[in-house]
């Protein structure tokens, strides 16, 4: 019984804590690329012409030309960021969603997404009226994440998404919301 309680307590600590979790053998890699160095909130990406999302476009959004709406769930296991352009000449909206398997929180590390499994991380990137579709795979790196309650305070992540082929869209998301800057 004591062993069970100790294990359960350890699991609670793992699920509730904000400290990085150990990379999982399923979908993560302990090698972490250099941190995204931007000092202001931004979404930037480049895309191959053949990529279903982006279609060759390169965009950079900051608080000067877009609104950023982050959402946290599962005590930090789910993060979505919706970015809407406020430029009158650009009505596009982009979103990135990261979700860890239940019981795990997003923490620094590199993760692979795309496996059809409850145990695999999920990463979606869509926008401009386009999405990837079947066969999507992605790699994303969490450089920094800080959550306070139900508020995302800081997030630095980079990602590469393959929409079912070799064409890719790559980018960075930086959220600095404590305060917004």
């Amino acid at each position: 019984m004591a062993i069970v309680l100790v294990v359960f307590a350890a699991l609670i600590g793992s699920a509730c804590g904000k400290s990085p979790t150990a990379p999982s053998p399923n979908g993560s890699n302990p090698a972490t690329p250099p941190a995204v160095s931007a000092t202001t909130t931004r979404l930037s990406f480049t895309s191959d012409p053949a990529s279903a999302v982006g279609q060759g476009q390169s965009r950079t959004y900051t608080l000067q030309n877009a609104t950023f709406q982050p959402l946290i769930g599962h005590a930090g296991g789910y993060v979505s960021v919706v970015v809407r352009s406020t430029d009158p000449s650009d009505s596009s909206q982009w979103s990135a969603v990261m979700m860890m398997p239940l019981g795990r929180v997003l923490s620094p590390g590199t993760y692979s997404a795309g496996e059809v499994s409850f145990e695999a991380p999920m990463f979606n990137f869509s926008g401009g009226g386009r999405a990837c579709g079947s066969g999507t795979t992605a790699s994303f790196t969490i450089h920094e994440v800080a959550v306070s309650g139900e508020t995302l305070q800081r997030l630095r992540t980079s990602f590469t998404v393959y929409c079912g082929g070799s064409a890719k869209v790559s980018g960075h998301i930086v959220i600095l919301a404590d305060p917004w800057r």
Binding site: A15, C16, Q69, A75, G103, S126, A131, G135
Partner: protein
């Protein structure tokens, strides 16, 4: 399903341990309608970015379900039996300042998500409505959920669907 349930139960217990134990739902016990079997069903038009013309109905007979929750947020993942290319995910999150409870929520990205539907690398976060008929959340475990949704997914016709969760103690979602 049986392989998933123990892990799911642990996760749900953990989620409950992480919450402040505040329940957004009515304290009244489940009604007789709560015995509806666990089901996820939706209809979609080929023009929909998620669904793409599929209109499946999933129960514990043909799919496994994974449900997570915290104080404000419910996720439901559905893995069809034998599926190798699709895992449907539904995320229910109340608009900012609200809690999930019986009632109708407008799904409006400008006010925060109330419902999200994703699969195959795409996410449907369009406008629509979500009507929660019943929701009972005990200690981080979603015992009962009955929700209807209608959500624009980029096509000309919205995706319409229904999620029913019915937790049977000692058995799991049935």
């Amino acid at each position: 399903m049986r392989r998933v349930l123990p892990g799911t139960l642990i996760v749900l217990l953990l989620a409950g341990a992480c919450t402040k134990q505040e329940s957004p739902t009515s304290p009244t016990p489940p009604t007789s309608a709560a015995v509806s079997p666990t089901t996820v069903a939706f209809t979609s038009d080929p023009s929909s970015s998620v669904g793409r013309g599929e209109s499946p109905t999933y129960t514990v007979e043909n799919a496994t379900f994974q449900v997570g929750t915290d104080s404000r947020f419910i996720s439901v993942a559905v893995l069809p039996r034998g599926a190798t290319d699709v895992l449907w995910r539904f995320v229910l999150h109340p608009p900012t300042g609200q809690v999930l409870a019986p009632g109708t929520f407008s799904i409006n990205n400008n006010a925060g998500h109330a419902f999200e539907f994703s699969s195959r690398g795409d996410r449907c976060g369009g406008a629509g409505t979500m009507t929660i008929e019943d929701l009972h959340n005990t200690g981080g475990l979603v015992d009962v959920l009955r929700v209807n949704f209608s959500l624009s997914c980029g096509g000309t016709v919205p995706v319409n669907g229904r999620i029913v969760l019915n937790w049977v103690p000692g058995t799991g979602y049935r």
